[in-house]
Amino acid sequence: MSSFARSITEVNHLEAPNITRLIYRNIKVNTDPGSLTILIGLPAMYLVFFGFGFASLQSSASGGSSYLSFLTPGLMGFQAVMAGTVGGGMLWADRRWGMLAQLLVGPFTRLQYLLGIMLTSVAFGLAGALVMLGIADLLLGALPVSLIGLGFLLAVIAVGSIFFGSLMLLIAAKIKSNTTYNSIQILVLFLVNFASTVFYPYSSALPAAIRVLFAINPLTYIADAVRAGYFGAYTTTVGYEVLVLCAETVAVLFLAVRAYMRSDVSTE
């Protein structure tokens, strides 16, 4: 058999940039049926079960405005959280299964690897949001969202995906135990999910502690902004929420990059 390990200069190479190749790889190894079912299936189940379940409860109490319409943009925003879990999970799994070190002895820099994960998270977040929109269209018929609104809400989801991707990367960079990582991820998911405006609107009737959680939870800002884009109801409050979200995203991204750059890449 002829020699395999010809000099690098003698082998043809694709012109695709490193980032594109890393994103391709991240999507390819994370789109197994199990992962996709959880990634898309869980919010879809929320939409169907909560949507119809609470719709009947709410319509009897308030005379029939659609809870499903309220929930749809909330769950589209929730896709940012799901995308974040994909990002953190990728770093964690790559380190656990030795691929992080293997990639970092390849033709990539640490920052390229990180960027690859972030952009993959954004891609999953946007794809998930569009799937939610498709399901809602099937369930509700005509949707109120305009093209501009769609562009706005997708931009918010992209920023949100970077926020939650950074948060999960920060956790993944610090924690090596599988059990601890999964436990923290479940806790974070629960807190951001239910202490936000994804499932119900903010109300001054809520207990004070829960109101504080609502106020500091980025998913509240994401859900509100996505809902604004979905219904075309932009307000000054939403503008402030988007600014806070961007500031929080920059801060968490900075912390995540710092933790990741300092972290040990080996599995030992």
Partner: protein, 319 residues
């Protein structure tokens, strides 16, 4: 003039600021050679590989790969190297999926990627498991996938950190022969192993490292001559006599020999096996020690390794 692929001078590295995993290591790797790194567990071999592959930056010293500084030109260096790490490294997909994804990561065009994948799957006997998930195959098969996968891309130097662990004899020989084949094509290989027999088979030069220090470095045959003496005597005596016989034997055999006890057995490295045998027989008769087994053989790399580690790198004649 010899082309140098790796130049290391006085490399030191500490993970915790106290103990040095590398402690003043200097060596060069020549273009087109198989350079073996031998050492016990924790000797510093993997740390050295991590430094050469840019995964860690040494605490001090000078390191140049292809004449470039890894701290400044890491990406350029990494584009020209192949690395098979000591631990597992797989993507969560099938065996052939791992080849494909890895080929994409290295920017290999589809047609060439497929051609190489098929050739490598055949060469490394992976046909039966090609559609299984990499995590579901046996340890030896995983190692084969890891090694074979690395050949999906071109490289100028290949770092193999204990590549044959878990492989059966036939596959181990296939891999070693492949390495020799690739080296003929101009590849340089840095190879760490615990298996001295395979190091003897495949390596041109060998460095023995212990507690972060480079003890010896030379061509295999020179090492055998310098550190192993001309011959090796394997000796087993009756149980319970070792405590009194070994010190007497060590003293009685004199210069030019080295006795390495292992329970009731011992390995004796000697320049003059005839004289040593006569002295062993004479001493055993005099002390009433029964010889259970005695044989004379050519020395091996294992003798060199044991000798160099036990004596801190001192050659046989200087002990």
């Amino acid at each position: 003039m010899v082309d140098l692929v790796v130049e290391a001078e006085d490399l030191r590295h500490s993970y915790d600021g106290n103990r040095f995993a590398l402690d003043g290591v200097s060596f060069t790797v020549r273009k087109g050679e198989v350079f073996g790194l031998l050492g016990k567990n924790g000797a510093g071999k993997s740390t050295l590989i991590k430094a050469m592959t840019t995964l860690i930056r040494p605490s001090s010293g000078t390191l140049r790969i292809f004449g470039m500084d890894p701290a400044k030109d890491g990406k350029k260096i990494r584009a020209r190297i192949g690395v098979v790490q000591q631990g597992e490294s797989f993507d969560f997909t099938t065996v052939e999926g791992n080849f494909d994804v890895y080929g994409v990561l290295w920017g290999i065009p589809r047609a060439e990627r497929r051609r190489r994948r098929e050739a490598l799957i055949q060469k490394f006997g992976l046909e039966e498991v090609r559609r299984q998930r990499s995590f579901d195959i046996s340890g030896g098969q995983k190692r084969r996938v890891q090694v074979a996968r690395e050949f999906i891309h071109g490289m100028d130097i290949l770092f193999l950190d204990e590549p044959t662990v878990g492989m059966d004899v036939i596959m181990r020989r296939t891999l070693l022969d492949s390495i020799r084949e690739e080296v003929k094509g101009g590849l340089t290989v840095v190879f760490t192993t615990h298996n001295l027999e395979e190091a003897d088979y495949v390596c041109d030069r060998i460095a023995v490292i212990d507690e972060g220090k480079l003890l010896v470095l030379d061509e295999v045959e020179n090492l055998k001559r310098l550190y192993g003496g001309k011959k090796t005597i394997d000796l087993t005596i009756d149980m319970g006599s070792a405590a009194r016989f070994i010190p007497a034997l060590t003293q009685g055999l004199g210069p030019g020999t080295s006795v390495m006890p292992e329970g009731d057995s011992m390995v004796i490295l000697t320049d003059d096996p005839k004289d040593s045998l006569a002295k062993i027989l004479e001493l055993s008769q005099k002390m009433g020690v029964q010889l259970e087994w005695i044989s004379v053989r050519k020395n091996t790399l294992e003798d060199v390794f044991l000798r160099s580690v036990d004596h801190g790198g001192e050659p046989l004649g200087s002990a």
